[in-house]
Structures are given as structure tokens and as C-alpha cells.
Symmetry: C2
Subunit: 150 residues, 2 copies
Amino acid sequence: MTKDKKPDWDGCPTRYAAGIVGDKWCFLILRDVLLHGKRTYSEFLKGPEGISTNILANRLARLEAADMLDRQIDPRKASRVCYFPTRKARDVLPALISIMVWSTKYDPATEAPASFAAGYQADPIAAIDWYEAEIDRIDAEILARFDHGQ
Amino acid sequence: MTKDKKPDWDGCPTRYAAGIVGDKWCFLILRDVLLHGKRTYSEFLKGPEGISTNILANRLARLEAADMLDRQIDPRKASRVCYFPTRKARDVLPALISIMVWSTKYDPATEAPASFAAGYQADPIAAIDWYEAEIDRIDAEILARFDHGQ
DNA sequence: GAATTTTTCTTGCAATATGCAAGTGATAAA
DNA sequence: TTTATCACTTGCATATTGCAAGAAAAATTC
């Protein structure tokens, strides 16, 4: 970016993001899928925020349509559906972690340990990589079960 | 952050952030105040998204209550009200810019020039500082008018 | 192999939130 | 003194949400 002139394009990237993550429930589902290893309808439903079933179904469909979640049926157990985060969803990790660091600074009731923000600030890239690796691990484990049963 | 153990706290920072910025309109008002130099009710109202007046009033009050906006009446012209971004609001800049960079990558219709993401990635701190300086400049200008008339 | 359970949703309905248009009150300008 | 501006409020039709119940398709248990 140039250092002495204000960019004159009209804020559309914010609007695009608002359309996808600018919704409380989508935001929390993304947290669950990116940070808490959740992949199934019933796991999302069990979250502490108590999303209702119709809203959950609606938001999962919306996130799938936005290419944030990849819906796959377990070939070994057709009643089980898994929602995997896409590359596009994974790529919100930096922004997600960044806003979480902000929350730990301003929420007096934060449950996040100080080490969370400190670790991120010390080495942001390593922190993101760590979460990505977790996602890889979880998805690989599920896909392995898909392939050679149980 | 430790590199080999998953943090076990329960995602509250995401929920805190969702409560404040996890709303389309709050998100866009924050964009306007942090990135577009808007400070007054009528400026927010004129935005291209067409927020309705009751919703705008509601969200401004919500953001003020969340300590994101500082509402001040122009002492020289009592019919004019200014909403200034607080330090807390300014501190969402890194996350806001980060999600905007994400949008430029995934929105095929993005209006942001490639230089935006490139500039941020080359030197994130300088980019944030540039926006902070703009905010300082705008607010100083308004406050100066507050003091010596006109 | 019949009955129960699990899992992923769908439907109906009351409550809440939103969008739109019009109105209000307090300045400020003409 | 009249008109205009600015920051909201109010009323009402429509849309979205939350809650509870249901339903279809497996999968498991007996």
C-alpha cells in the first residue's frame, strides 16, 4: 500500500466478509469446525450456545453454498454426514485468531489463558500452522475411517 | 502457545467477538468509522448498503454500549453528533484488514486492488499504522472544529 | 427380523427483529 | 419568521428466529 494516499475503493471486501461470517451462528460454526474439531450435525448442535436445529441446518447449507464447508456422507455409514472446512474456510484462521486475541484483551470474563495471545503475538505464523496441522490431523483421521471401515 | 498440546478453554473469545462484530450492520458501521472516516449519523445512513434509520440508531447505541464508539455532541453546533472510534474499536483493525485480505482472495468481484493485499502482506504493521494515522488525522480535524468554531 | 435408537434434518407456530415510510423535536440557516 | 437540517422515533407489514414436535433413513439391539 502506498503510504501517503488514501485508497479510494469502496469497502466491498468488508461487505463480502459480512455476508459470509457477519452472522453470529456462521461465526460460531466456523469456530467449531476450525478450532474445536467438530464435523457433524450433532456435534455442532451440542455446543454451549444452544443453536436450534432449523438454524443449524440453514447455516450449514449457507456455509456449504459459500464454499466454506464440504459436506460428505460417510460411505461406511450413510446416516453420518461430515462437514469439512474448505481451504477458503481455513484461510479465515488468521482473522479468526486475530479477533480472538482482541477479545482476550477486552473481555473481562475471558476464559482464554494469557499464553494464547502471547503465543500468537510471539509467532503468528507458527500459531496458525499449529491450528492447520490440527485440522489436517482430524480430517485425515475421519477420512481414514471412511476408507477402511469402523 | 505450546506446540504440542491442544488448548482446552472453550472458545469464549469467539463468542465475545460474535456478540459485538458478529452482526452485519455493526460490522459495516465499524468499516465506515475505521476505514472511511465517517463519523455522523447521516454519513452512516448514506452508505451504499442502505441501512434503515431505526436499525442504524439501534446499532450505534449497541456499539456505544459496547465501548466501541464514543458519542459526542458538537459544542458549537448542538444538532451535530459525532461517533468516534474508541481504542477498543481501533484495535479490531488488524482483524478487519485480515478478513478484507481474505475477501480479496475469494471474492471474484472484489473491487480492492491487488496492491491492498500485497501491501498488507509485505508489512502488516506499517499498513495498520497507516490506517491508525488516518483515524488520528480525521478525529483531530473534527475536534479542532469543536474547539475553535466553524 | 422386529423393535428401538441414532442421525440428520423438516415443519408449524409464536415471538422477535427487520425494512420502509412517515413523523418529531431540537437546532440552524435564510 | 419561515424553511431546512440533523438525529433520531414510531407504526406497521414482512422476514427471521427459537422452540417443540415430527419424520425419514439408516444402524443397532434384542
